[in-house]
């Protein structure tokens, strides 16, 4: 038992042990420890992209799986995501400098009339954790806010979230406007939120409904891969 009581000195762990410890610390939402470990790996010569994918994304994948499986719930995931954000704050400028590969980009926001951003924040953080560039529009977005952000950032993906049955139909307003303007097929449209389901997503013309943040990341990766394949074939 005394092993468990001993404090772990991160800098004394070898790379493999340190990454394992980071998985654990992400799981427990320990932000300071994650930031310390990211710095240690960088000092040891790890490329920022390797720190991101092997340590942070690796750890968040475990968190995401356990969230999906009903082992972890929102409070734990928020703390884990917050710890990851601490690590990302160090890596982000370095990733930009080193021109690391990007998974893709996403504009995301909660629809008009809806204040709820818990799920949306989780998706944004997990997407960042998976290497996507994310523009977060926050809550209460009217159709113009989505269109403006898409024109400005040219994302691969548009993500919309709603927690209320009174606000979820607004997603269709946004998609219908995109169709009218002839830009619907320029984007992958993913929707999510507690009252939604797959059938609803299909009915309003989204590409996919994502049950939770972990599924959102998997779905985004799948669509991005398909898009690349199509471009290669075309």
């Amino acid at each position: 038992m005394s092993d468990e009581e001993d404090d772990i000195i991160l800098s004394e762990l070898d790379d493999e042990e340190l990454v394992q410890q980071m998985f654990d610390d992400l799981y427990d939402g320990l932000k300071d420890e994650i930031m310390e470990a990211v710095n240690i790996l960088l000092e040891r010569g790890w490329a920022p992209y390797r720190v991101l994918t092997e340590a942070l994304v690796g750890g968040m994948t475990i968190v995401g799986n356990d969230f999906r499986d009903g082992i972890l719930f929102v409070p734990e995931v928020l703390l884990a995501a917050n710890a990851m954000k601490g690590g990302m704050s160090i890596l982000k400028p370095l990733l930009a400098e080193t021109g690391a590969p990007r998974m893709g980009s996403m504009v995301i926001g909660t629809v008009k009339g809806d204040i709820h951003d818990i799920g949306k924040n989780l998706v944004a953080m997990m997407m960042e954790g998976a290497g996507f560039e994310v523009v977060d529009l926050g809550i209460n977005n009217a159709v113009d806010a989505y269109l403006g952000a898409m024109a400005e950032h040219k994302p691969d993906i548009l993500g919309m979230s709603a927690l209320l049955t009174t606000t979820m139909p607004y997603m269709k307003v946004v998609i219908d406007t995109m169709k009218e303007q002839g830009i619907r097929d320029d984007y992958i449209v993913l929707v999510g939120g507690a009252p939604l389901n797959e059938e609803f997503g299909k009915a309003i013309g989204a590409d996919a409904y994502c049950r939770d943040a972990a599924v959102a990341v998997e779905t985004a990766k799948k669509f991005i891969a398909r898009k690349h394949n199509q471009m290669a074939a075309g």
Partner: protein, 338 residues
């Protein structure tokens, strides 16, 4: 003097609550994204019609149109300062309809979640949450609500903040949580933990329970989870009328009145005393539920198998109360040094 709900529960074995607010208001022309609470002021006849729909269908109590009438939610519509007055209007219209019904109908002042996160992972403080809930509570009280009714709560911190606000307002209350994530609330609370929380409050509610969530089956499993804790406190069951489907610009719930009647009987047999619907539950559903509850004798408590046979499967294998849910083996959980 006891309150109207306590009196009603002393006289009756079960009470029929109301159904959906949002679904009904959409059918009357509410636009997606708009705040329903403004209709208390601008479209009072439609709110009267909403309340009357429940009363005429046989509801013994109905919730006021004030779910989003708190400063945090109204802020979105530049009306963060109007929580008190919009809540008061909601209750006044309710009082009017209840008093005109010719029988005892209870006006329950609906209090919805703030939409913000409390606790270690969040930014909303306990003090601020209590303050917001109290503002809404005072509006509902001054508008004539018989009891306050906090609903669709996910976080225990928020439930407790509402309880404290209601104590400050000097009002009797009820409170339900939404169990929509693997049989627990979004924040991970199990049915068993909710009972422990409720029974530990300095001002416990008259009744407590579950609303909204996933489907009728899940909701009844939650009710059985409450009952298993041995609580004597009246249990509330307000489940959705099936699953939302999108049809020609409208959200439509696929649960039929017959299914909701079956659900109502099973809810009573499971141990619920205050039974109603949530999203998608229309006056037709309520009438069928009332008729079923009046014409059937209470039966034995259903098993989980009987629930899924009658109402469909559960959304998750475990609800976290049977010790059989998934877990993760942890090797060396780090000790927090601070």
């Amino acid at each position: 003097m006891t309150d109207a709900l306590t009196r009603a529960l002393a006289q009756r074995d079960w009470l029929l609550a109301d159904g959906a607010t949002g679904t009904n208001l959409f059918n009357m022309g509410l636009q997606s994204g708009d705040a329903p609470e403004f209709w208390n002021e601008n479209e009072p006849d439609k709110i009267r019609a909403l309340y009357r729909g429940a009363v005429d269908a046989g509801s013994d109590l109905f919730l006021t149109n004030s779910f989003g009438a708190n400063a945090s939610r109204l802020k979105l519509h530049d009306a963060g300062h109007r929580a008190y007055e919009l809540s008061k209007l909601a209750a006044e219209l309710g009082r009017e309809i209840a008093d005109a019904s010719g029988r005892e109908v209870i006006v329950a002042g609906s209090v919805g979640p703030t939409g913000e996160i409390m606790g270690a992972a969040g930014s909303l403080s306990h003090e601020r949450a209590v303050e917001m809930f109290e503002e809404t509570a005072n509006g509902l009280k001054d508008g004539g609500a018989d009891v306050l009714w906090v609903e669709t709560i996910s976080a225990p911190e928020e439930y407790m903040a509402a309880a404290e606000a209601f104590a400050n307002a000097g009002m009797p209350w009820c409170g339900t949580m939404s169990f929509d994530t693997a049989g627990r609330t979004m924040m991970g609370m199990t049915s068993a933990d909710m009972v422990k929380m409720v029974e530990g409050l300095p001002n416990p509610p008259i009744g407590f329970g579950a609303n909204c969530g996933v489907g009728a089956s899940d909701l009844l499993r939650t009710v059985l989870g409450f009952v298993a804790q041995g609580t004597e406190r009246p249990i509330i069951a307000k489940g959705n009328a099936g699953i939302p489907k999108y049809h020609e610009g409208h959200i439509h719930y696929d649960g039929t009145p017959a299914l909701m009647a079956e659900y109502a009987l099973m809810a009573r047999n499971s141990g619920a005393r205050i039974i109603g619907g949530c999203c998608g539950t229309m006056p037709d559903h309520l009438s069928a539920m009332r008729a079923a509850l009046e014409t059937h004798e209470p039966g034995p408590r259903p098993t989980l198998e009987q629930i899924t046979e009658a109402l469909g499967g559960f959304s998750s294998e475990s609800d976290g109360t049977d010790g059989e849910g998934p877990t993760r083996e942890r090797k060396n959980k780090r000790r927090r040094t601070s």
